[in-house]
Symmetry: C2
């Protein structure tokens, strides 16, 4: 870890002592930043993902502008289905829309196995480039979707309210579901391994749609494949974060998935979750992203509440409980980061004298 | 309760012994039924709400067709904001859209206090009429939205993904929020009292948007007003059900709200929740509504899983974990009800010999 000047984030992921709580913001390279929108004006979202120079440029922006303790490579989880042959458009304020959603065995037969080094070279190049430009200032996070979350997008074809298609498929043709999930697990693991090889210092797995499943179904269709991916990722000591939005259940099981860090949404109680699994994993989160709509005083108060809820000692990475919204004032994001840096010191006074906090 | 021939639902709400688990289905008077669509072809959704004869007709349909153990009056939670002066349209597959969302103090000043007996007479007439037509076959449930959920619709003006407007309001002008929530609490309590007077045998409070709040905010902006409503409802022994979708937290507090029954969505573990609060309240739920897309064998298996999860003894009302979807085959809804009736008997063998199960 010595190559990284500010390694607070990496230490916190491993529950090692830190001087203060590290902070980064999900979707920090995004539309709320005028500097991002300036790049976005020159190229559409998918082109940005495909162009290493642009992806690297917006990856670095929040480090310079907002002062976060980690960068996360600008990309999209759907580059994997895309590389497997499923094209999609990213439609402003609607999200991704696949040209031909996957609905049956024939559709599944068209999926091709990917070779990340070839098919997703543009992401790996973006990682190398961002890494070079960061020059060791902060760690660089690589990310991917969980197999279940990618699968959900591929089946639904776009954002959904009821997730009827994917639910119909898992209930009526579970073997097809498992076949595709298996294939996705290999693709995600290879892809994330390649990202680490290209220089990523940590990995986050986004399980955005884990929370739409009943508990047993979550274990069968999401958690199982998350664990599989983690076990297959080739890594040295790069930590792995799993963020399963809405998954308030199966926390012990998530903590046993091989992840080093569990990300929590804003409906969770950090203190309670720490009691349950804080001895096994670090926790990331979990400020309500809409708090950034409030005035600075309120943002500070809520920031302190999150820090207090986790309590003393290492093992906490501050983040929002979901991605930052495009209409947030960047000054508020900046203030949040400053508040975390300032207000968290008091929770780490004893970190360096060898106490055991959990 | 003697007036009702099948009072299983009412007994289960009070955790009294039953011969089998009662069952009803949220949104059971709805588009999945061809008989409902036939009525809907003659009148739009809001006209149906406003016309007691039509509302009563579709209220009874699922009792006759699906065989449920309770009827729920056909209406919409938004009749209250409507009566307060906020007109809305119900747009197919998009949901309600208010003409002028409430966004500031001036908008709030336009809200008028309601007199349910006058302003919402059409609902009360529908209740009386449905009650008469039911002729004591099964109990009739009246319902209303929680103040928070009504407030959310009034502020957002329509369905929302991020709930930016309502979150901005509670963070930046909490006193306005509390003023309107207070007003809504009175309106909801008066309205639900009037429904009971008109003949409703039980009340369900829908807190559809409680789960978008962080835990402290839920207590302050939703739970507080739910408790207030419950304490103000004039009733004899009519049970009150609170369904807070996505609220996996604050279960003890919900159980202490004065509710007799807590409704649970499909991500919750009935067994665990029963251990926590089953000694204080009955539980309603919680089959994943999308299971009704599966074949009958799978529906049966999942039905048994829910029954097994609650376990032996009284205090369980079977339901879906959210409303039934419009594209579900009514034969599957019918099969579900039959499975509950048949498969639940074994869990109530000892109900009548005075054991204490919780």
């Amino acid at each position: 870890m010595s190559e990284i000047k500010n390694d607070l984030f990496l230490r916190a992921c491993k529950r090692l002592p830190v001087e203060r709580t590290p902070v980064w913001i999900m979707r920090q390279a995004g539309r709320y930043l005028p500097e991002y929108r300036a790049v976005r004006d020159k190229a559409d979202f998918i082109t940005m993902c495909h162009t290493p120079e642009l992806a690297a440029e917006v990856t670095i922006q929040p480090v310079d502008i907002i002062g976060v303790d980690a960068a996360i490579i600008f990309s999209d989880i759907l580059v994997i289905p895309e590389a497997m042959g499923m094209k999609f458009d990213m439609i402003e304020s609607r999200g991704p829309v696949f040209h031909h959603p996957l609905r049956n065995e024939d559709d599944a037969k068209l999926l091709k196995q990917i070779d990340p080094g070839k098919d997703l070279k543009f992401v790996l190049d973006a990682v190398s480039l961002a890494k070079k430009e960061l020059n060791g200032r902060v760690p660089l996070i690589g990310f991917g979707g969980s197999p279940w979350t990618l699968f959900t997008y591929m089946i639904e074809g776009k954002g959904s309210k009821n997730f009827s298609y994917v639910k119909k498929l898992i209930f009526n043709n579970p073997s097809l579901a498992h076949k595709v999930l298996e294939m996705l697990s290999d693709a995600v693991a290879d892809y994330l391994s390649a990202k680490i090889e290209a220089g990523a210092n940590a990995i986050q797995i986004f399980d955005t749609w884990g929370g739409i499943l009943a508990q047993d179904d979550f274990e069968e269709f999401s958690l199982w494949y998350i664990s599989k991916v983690i076990s297959k990722i080739k890594r040295n000591d790069e930590p792995i974060i799993v963020f399963s939005k809405g998954v308030h259940f199966k926390l012990e099981e998530l903590a046993a998935s091989g992840a080093d860090v569990i990300g929590l949404d804003w409906t969770m109680d950090l203190c309670e979750v720490r009691k349950k699994i804080g001895g096994k994993v670090a926790l990331q989160g979990n400020l309500d992203p809409t708090v950034l709509y409030a005035n600075k005083e309120k943002i500070k108060e809520e920031t302190k509440k999150v820090l207090r809820s986790f309590g003393e000692g290492p093992g906490h990475i501050f983040n929002l409980g979901h991605g930052i919204f495009p209409d947030v004032d960047p000054e508020n994001a900046k203030a949040l980061v400053e508040f975390v840096k300032e207000e968290s010191k008091v929770f780490h006074r004893k970190d360096n004298i060898g106490d055991d906090y959990v």
